[in-house]
């Protein structure tokens, strides 16, 4: 935890810099969970770090530094997801059509299904099941109300089930056309 190394009340630029740099591995992981794209995740982390640096004076309590930076990163990722939803996808994972049903195929299927969801649903799933945040923590990170988080998480899971089914139908069609 950052709290072990950064003392409260001593948020010098040096401290904030150290804090941001120490957060990078975890931030990259979180961004990749949200974006499902390591390169885009790197860009998001870089942007978030620089934004955080610009706003470093708003960090008043080191104990909340993790949440502070997560909030900035989540917003950057949210923006990226929204931009992505408005443009045709450049990178698409091709459906597996060779009949394999291993974990890789399952992962691809789940990744494609998640990408079918609206940006905020993708974000909430990553925070809940990737970051393992509680509903109140997600609410704090996204500035949504807890009730909104609950209902959107619920609908995200419903939509994900539907998206998975759609993926399977598409896969079956592809397999049939190969025969």
């Amino acid at each position: 935890m950052l709290d072990m190394t950064i003392e409260a009340g001593a948020q010098t630029d040096h401290d904030v810099r150290a804090l941001l740099l120490a957060r990078l591995p975890d931030a990259h992981k979180l961004a990749n969970w949200i974006l499902h794209d390591p390169v885009a995740a790197e860009d998001a982390v870089q942007e978030a770090a620089l934004l955080a640096w610009d706003r470093r004076r708003s960090l008043r309590d080191v104990a909340s530094a993790d949440a502070w930076f997560d909030r900035i990163l989540v917003n950057v990722c949210r923006g990226e997801l929204r931009r992505r939803s408005r443009r045709p996808a450049i990178t698409e994972i091709e459906p597996t059509t060779d009949g394999t049903h291993g974990s890789l195929a399952d992962r691809d299927e789940l990744t494609r299904a998640i990408r079918r969801l609206v940006p905020d649903e993708q974000l909430l799933l990553a925070l809940r099941f990737g970051r393992d945040l509680t509903v109140p923590a997600i609410a704090a990170a996204t500035r949504m109300r807890e009730g909104t988080v609950k209902s959107r998480l619920h609908s995200a899971l419903e939509h994900l089930r539907a998206a998975l089914e759609a993926e399977r139908r598409a896969e079956r069609r592809a397999e049939e056309s190969m025969r």
Binding site: A8, A10, R17, A162
Partner: protein
């Protein structure tokens, strides 16, 4: 339609994220570190460039450079002929308070830098934040961050607490994050990848990045050498900058090693393997294998399996921060575990005094105590919102609220900030 029940789907999602590989991001730390060092949001910088657009941007930059040369008179509002003007501007990466750079031999072409878009923080009130940097002689050096709208201007100020009159030592045109002072001069990375030194008489010296040095040269810190001057952390040679900024020497290191930190012996240095420095987040908090190297004899010895930071020690070669605590490094390379606070700046360099902070989790005003380490005797108590502490012997200085506070034994002096 839904053939996956909720618990199964949740389990699958957890497994999906748990095993989702973010891949390696070897240059992310370096890019961010450079971005923070060089262009924190106010100036255009390649380090702010997303990886995906960097290649395209490079072409754009080239075009911009051509355009800049062609339109230089327009940018600068001058009607001078195009050509020589671009390279005739003085170094001027740092604007001195009345003192020109003393290194005219490193001219930099002033390329107009695109300004950021409409300022979303234009309505913000101008604000200045101060932080103590160190002592230069009898003066305490303070870095002032002046925020005006979205713009940040930095200024180095100093004051002799006995006199109480503030002086502007330098207005910085680059945004710097880390400043080092050896008690005489101030050193910092410059925007062009070199190093700037402000000497004791406030003259500025620009030391260019050596040929073949990596882009992040000097970005990992300039720790103070025993006897004055600065070491370049991460250097593939032993780069040492003279205290007065007049020169930088480069001595070869053992092949495959980089410099990490000096020790209290001017001939002994902490090195690490190049691969440890180059790993993701290397030299910014990731473990590295520390080696003690003797510049004169060439003897190299690994002194611990891993360390994360090196700090000055008043009674040994250096302190090494390791996963389980601290080690004190002796001249023979042996390392002994010691009990030491994680916050070294709360302890005077000779260890005789320390500042006791009752609530480390508080960023607000609280009563802190200056204590004698050996006896625990309280020398002074004061109400401060504690910031970084800089020591000169056993005299401490810190910025608190609107004052610079000096703690000298039982005497507490408050100098109002400018």
């Amino acid at each position: 339609m839904n053939d996956v029940n909720q618990p199964d789907l949740e389990l699958r999602l957890r497994d999906h994220y748990r095993t989702l590989d973010a891949g390696s991001s070897h240059d992310l730390a370096a890019r961010v570190a450079e971005g923070l060092n060089r262009a924190p949001g106010r100036r255009w910088s390649p380090f702010r460039m997303p990886r995906r657009t960097a290649a395209a941007a490079a072409i754009g930059v080239a075009a911009l450079a051509v355009l800049a040369v062609l339109t230089a008179p327009l940018w600068f509002g001058q009607a001078t002929p195009v050509g020589p003007a671009a390279s005739s501007s003085p170094t001027a990466t740092l604007v001195a308070s009345g003192s020109p750079s003393s290194s005219p031999s490193f001219p930099l072409a002033e390329t107009p830098t695109p300004t950021p878009g409409p300022a979303k923080c234009a309505s913000d009130q101008p604000t200045t934040y101060y932080s103590a940097v160190g002592w230069r002689g009898t003066r305490v050096v303070v870095l002032a961050d002046h925020f005006v709208g979205c713009d940040l201007h930095q200024e180095i100020l100093s004051v002799d607490p006995a006199v109480g009159q503030w002086r502007s030592d330098s207005v910085l045109s680059d945004i710097v994050v880390t400043l080092s002072t050896d008690g005489s001069s101030i050193a910092m990375p410059s925007n062009d990848g070199g190093i700037l030194v402000i000497d004791a008489s406030d003259k500025q010296h620009h030391i260019p990045q050596p040929g073949g040095a990596p882009q992040d040269f000097a970005a990992y810190g300039l720790p103070v050498l025993q006897g004055g001057g600065y070491l370049v952390t991460g250097g593939q040679k032993l780069y040492r900058v003279a205290s007065d900024g007049s020169r930088m020497t480069a001595d070869p290191l053992p092949a495959g090693y980089v410099a990490v930190a000096p020790t209290s012996d001017p001939d002994l240095f902490i090195l690490t393997r190049t691969e440890d420095a180059q790993q993701a987040y290397g030299l910014v908090g990731t473990d590295f294998r520390p080696y003690l190297w003797n510049l004169r004899t060439g003897v190299l010895k690994q002194v611990a399996s891993a360390a994360t930071t090196v700090e000055k020690s008043p009674n040994s070669l250096a302190y090494l921060s390791v996963g389980t605590g601290w080690l004190s490094l002796a001249a023979d390379g042996s390392a002994t575990p010691i009990t030491r606070s994680a916050w070294g700046d709360r302890i005077s360099p000779d260890g005789s005094r320390n500042i006791y902070v009752p609530d480390l989790s508080s960023a607000g005003v609280q009563t802190v105590e200056l204590r004698e380490t050996a006896t625990g005797r309280v020398l002074a108590k004061l109400q401060v919102a504690l910031g970084p502490v800089v020591w000169k012997g056993d005299v401490a200085a810190m910025v608190s609220g609107t004052d610079l506070v000096i703690l000298d034994g039982s005497t507490v002096t408050r100098v109002p900030l400018p």
